[in-house]
Symmetry: C2
Subunit: 189 residues, 2 copies
């Protein structure tokens, strides 16, 4: 999506450790007009997927998932992050390693809001190694629901996450797909 690629080229910063900093428009400060357009693009790409629910994870996936939910007329389920394994019944949980923060988190959703009848479109800010995606897919599988697609605002292709999701037969769509990046240079696919 050219709008997002242009914004990344203009305001994104490549930091040491293969980190792309987009906190001026996507993570910390939210460009509401841009993110609204991202949501519309997701809706266009998945118009016929039959989704009943969008699933994301707190907190930087929320705004994009929300904009997609608005455009598709769907509710958004926000998986919560917990540090501890000490979690009540009534939830599905999965373990996720954060590439950016180098920490292990548990993500969870209430069983009340995710059922076997759901067709779930997963939306997150980044797709890199696929750890977060696998955690969210695990929640969907535990519920006996069907994942109808995975959307990332930004994909870092060289980290291989896409293959893990596509192996499960799930469509992957990234709004901006980065093939290579280093300080001062970002090359899209």
């Amino acid at each position: 999506m050219k709008l997002l690629e242009d914004k990344i080229l203009k305001d994104g910063k490549v930091l040491a450790g293969d980190i792309l900093k987009v906190d001026g428009f996507l993570n910390h400060r939210l460009d509401t007009a841009l993110i609204t357009e991202l949501g519309k693009d997701v809706a266009k790409q998945f118009a016929k997927c039959g989704a009943s629910l969008i699933l994301t994870v707190e907190s930087s996936g929320i705004s994009i998932a929300f904009a997609a939910g608005q455009a598709m007329g769907l509710p958004v389920l926000v998986a919560k992050k917990h540090k501890s394994q000490n979690i009540s019944d009534g939830v599905y949980t999965a373990s996720v390693f954060s590439f950016t923060h180098k920490t292990e988190n548990t993500v969870l959703v209430s069983k009340e809001y995710l059922s076997a009848a759901d067709k779930v479109l997963i939306v997150d800010d980044f797709l890199a190694s696929g750890n977060a995606a696998m955690g969210l897919l695990s929640l969907v599988e535990q519920a006996g629901a069907e994942a109808v697609g995975f959307v990332a605002a930004i994909e870092k292709m060289h980290q291989g996450g896409r293959a893990l999701i596509e192996e499960k037969g799930i469509k992957v769509y990234s709004l901006a797909c980065i093939k290579e990046m280093r300080a001062g240079e970002i090359i899209f696919n």
Copy 2:
């Protein structure tokens, strides 16, 4: 706002410890159509406030703040929560006690995105004791910016947070204002 009051009466649950559970539409599962309307109502109430920025705190304030930002054509700055005090330069920080989780958090925003020129409308999901509000106001004050209003989706009036904000001469607006609540009964102001 009647739309939100009706939803709270229909789907909200009063739990022990003076907790109002609204995770079916506002916190965990997001009713995107409802929250979009909340954002429009905020825009109507603060049409003439001259805000340049909306400030909220992760993660349950994000969707409402985002919807308000869309309706007002403003960016949203999301204060991050950290457990530790071990935080880099380049940020404003404040300490906040969470009523729901009984934990102390540090909230922070990058100095890059909040300046003395900003007129800030703060938007959060709840106003109760006012701890989160005071933390966010402290960030605004540290930047030398001006707070032009405080919005809560839901206010629990009996916890006294409103007075703390109004003492600073800041307008407070709650979309649903709860006077009293107990299991099975919620009374709005």
